[in-house]
Amino acid sequence: MSLIHIENLSVHAGSVELLAPISLTVQKGERLTILGQTGSGKSLLAQAIMGNLPASLRAEGDVRLFEQRVNAEERQAFWGKQISMLPQEPWNSLDPLMGAKQQLAQTYHLVAGEGAAQAQQSADYTLALQGLQESGHKRVDQLSGGMAQRVAIACAMAGGAPVLLADEPTKGLDVSRRDQVVEQLMTQSEQGALITITHDVAVARQIGGRMMVIKSGELLEEGNAEDILNAPQHAFTKALIDADPVNWADETRDTRYGEPLISVQDLSIGHGKQALTRHLNFTLHQGEVVGVVGDSGCGKSTLGDTLLGVHKALGGKIERHSNAPLHQWQKLYQDPTAAVSSAVSLRTLLNDMVSLHNIDRSRIAPLMQQLGLSDDLLNRNSEGVSGGELQRFCMLRALLLEPVLLFADEPTSRLDPITQREVSQLLVDVAKQNGCAVMLVSHDPAMIHKRCDRVISLSQ
C-alpha cells in the first residue's frame, strides 16, 4: 500500500512554472532522497506535498496520502499524526521562549493524545535517547545547532506520524553532527517512510534507497541511489557528485616554502578569561598553505584574530620574523557580504584602497583576469553579485596589498559545492604565485586534506 502517491504535481507563481510536473510513489518502509542545488525548487516540492505552500503560489496535480485523494485543506488533518515535515532551519522552528522538553511533552500531550504526566515521561525518555537528558530545560538559544536539530526531529516524530519529510536536515551542521542526524532520521522512520531533500551528496550516499535529481525545477534522473552515485548519466549529476571534496582529484603541488614568517610558542587563545585552546606551537613559512581544523567553537577564528593582532593572546608568545607593515597581514571572512560595505559600488571601494596605499593600477587588470572577475562587475555593489564573485573580490583587494599572510576563515562554507571547489583552488594557487602564506580554516577535513601542505588540529 503506497503511503504517498503523486501525479504530475507542479508549482506555479501566477503564470511562471517554478516546478515542472513530477510524479512519485513511496511505499511503506521505503526511503527516497531528492538531490539538487540550493534554490532548484526542492523545498517547493516538499511544501506542495504537505499542502503549506505560501499564499502567492499554487500547486496543480493530485496528491494521494494513504490511498486517499486529499486537497490542501484536508491534508492539514494529517499533519503530525500521519505525515510530518521537518523544516530547514531547526533552530528557527522551535518556540524561542519555551524549553525543549516542554515543547516535546506538549506534542505528546496534544497531538499523540497522551495524559499530561505520561507526556512528560515520554519526553524525558526521548531526550535521554538523544543524549540530551540534562538540557531538557534549555531554550533554543542555549542549544547548539545539532542539539536543536535533534529536538526538532523528536518533536516532529512525537505525533507518531509514520511518514517523515526532511527538508535540508543537515544544512550548516559539522560533519560529525551531520552523520548523527542522518542516523537518527533513518532509525525514526524504519516502519513508515522517509523523504529527504538535500544538496549534500554524502548525506544521499549515507541514506541510500531510491533517489531523484532535480535542477531548476526539472527532474533529470531517477532510480536507485547506489546506481546513480556510482554511474551518474546526466552531466549535471556528475558535476554535483564530483563537487564533493572526497572526489576532488589529487593534484601535485609544489609544497616548497620560503623563510619562517611567524612562529608561535605555547600560545593560548580565547576571549576574556576563558581560554579556548592552549599550548599551541607551530611556525608558518612564507608561501606555505596550512590547514586549521577543529570542532565549531574551538577557537579557529580567534586564532586568526590573535595572530593578526586584533585580539590579545591569553598566554604564550607570537614572534613575527618579517617586518611587513600591518596592512600586509590580511584576513578573508566566512561571509563576504558582511565583510564588504554595500553602501557604494565595488569600484569605489577598490579606488578607496588604491588611493590609500597608492597601489600601481596596472597590477589590477591581470589579477582580476586571473580571479575571473569581469570589469562591469565592479559597477555593482556587494549585494548585486554572487557569494563566489564577492569572495573573489575580497581576494583581489587582499592580494593588491601584497600580503605576507592571508588567514582564510572558512572562506567557502557558504558557497555551493561546485563554486566551493573553484574558489578554494584559486585561493591556494594565487597565494602560492605571490609568495603569500595562507592559513585555511574549515570544518570539512576532506577539503583541508586536498588543499593544504600540512594541517594543524585544534583540540579541546
Binding site: Q330, K331, Y333, A338, A339, A343, V344, L356, R397, L401
Partner: protein
C-alpha cells in the same frame, strides 16, 4: 540615494505642497497677518478673504501661512540640531572609552526621567513666549532618540567583519564612519527625523494649548485652535482651518517617516 516607498513619496508630496502654501501665500494676498479689522470679524471665506477672517478680523489666509511657516521652521531646526548632536554623541559613545558611554547613559536616564512635555513646560514657563527657548527645550529632548539608535547600530558594527577588515587595511576612523557607520544609520535616521519633526510641531501646539507657548500676536497653530474653539458653533470653519493645517503637516511628516506600511 534613499529608496522612498510610495507612502514616503506621498508624504513628501504633501509636505512640499504645504511648504509651497506657507511660502507663497503672503505673495498672493496683500496685507499682513496681524492687521485687525474689528468691523469685519468672523467673515466666512469669500472673494477678498480666501480663508475668511478670525475674531479680530485678521486675514486667515495670511495668518495660517505664518503659523505654518513657524511650525515648519521649528520642526526643521529641532530635527537638524538633535540629529547632529545625537548621531555624533552616539557614535562617539560606541567607539570611545567606556566611561564616556556610561556618563552619556547617566545623562540620558536623567533627562528621560521626566516626560519631555513637562520639561518643555518648565522651560517655556521660565521665558514665556520665546521661540528660541522652545527650540532649545525640544531639541534637548529629541536628540536622545538619535543618540540611542546611532549608538546601538555603531556598537553592532564595530564588531562586524566589514569594519575589522577596513581597519586591517589601514583605513582611518573618519573613513570607517563615512563608509560603514553612517550608511547603516542613514535609513533609521530618516525615519526618526520625520517622526521627530511631527513631534516637535505637536509639542509646540500643545504648549500653545496650555497658554505657555507663544505670546500674541504671533500666529501658532496650537494657540489658534484654543483661541478659535469658542467660535466652533457659529464659525466652525475658523476652528477647522488650524486643525486641518496641524493634522496635514503632522500627517505629512509621519508618512515620510514610514518606510514600509507600519
Amino acid at each position: 540615494m534613499l529608496a522612498l516607498s510610495t507612502t514616503q513619496k506621498s508624504g513628501l508630496a504633501l509636505l512640499v505642497l504645504l511648504i509651497a502654501y506657507a511660502l507663497c501665500a503672503p505673495l498672493l494676498q496683500a496685507g499682513d497677518a496681524t492687521t485687525q479689522n474689528l468691523s469685519q470679524i468672523l467673515t466666512s471665506p469669500n472673494a477678498d478673504y480666501w480663508l475668511g477672517t478670525d475674531h479680530f478680523g485678521r486675514n486667515m489666509w495670511l495668518r495660517l501661512a505664518e503659523a505654518m511657516q513657524l511650525s515648519l521652521m521649528m520642526a526643521a531646526l529641532c530635527v537638524m540640531t538633535s540629529a547632529i548632536i545625537g548621531v555624533t554623541v552616539g557614535v562617539l559613545a560606541a567607539t570611545r572609552a567606556p566611561w564616556f558611554d556610561r556618563v552619556m547613559d547617566g545623562i540620558v536616564t536623567m533627562i528621560l526621567a521626566l516626560p519631555g512635555l513637562v520639561l518643555v513646560l518648565i522651560f517655556a514657563a521660565i521665558v514665556p513666549g520665546s521661540f528660541w527657548v522652545l527650540y532649545v527645550a525640544i531639541s534637548l529632548i529629541q536628540w536622545i532618540e538619535y543618540f540611542r539608535i546611532s549608538r546601538a547600530i555603531t556598537q553592532r558594527l564595530t564588531q562586524s567583519p566589514a569594519v575589522q577588515s577596513s581597519k586591517l587595511m589601514g583605513f582611518g576612523e573618519w573613513y570607517i564612519f563615512r563608509r560603514h557607520y553612517f550608511p547603516a544609520i542613514m535609513p533609521q535616521l530618516f525615519t526618526i527625523a520625520a517622526f521627530g519633526a511631527a513631534n516637535a510641531i505637536l509639542m509646540m501646539a500643545s504648549l500653545g494649548f496650555v497658554y505657555v507657548g507663544i505670546q500674541p500676536p504671533l500666529a501658532e497653530l496650537g494657540l489658534m485652535i484654543v483661541e478659535h474653539f469658542p467660535y466652533y458653533s457659529d464659525a466652525p470653519w475658523l476652528l477647522a482651518q488650524p486643525l486641518a493645517a496641524l493634522a496635514l503637516v503632522v500627517l505629512a511628516c509621519q508618512l515620510m517617516g514610514r518606510g514600509k506600511a507600519l
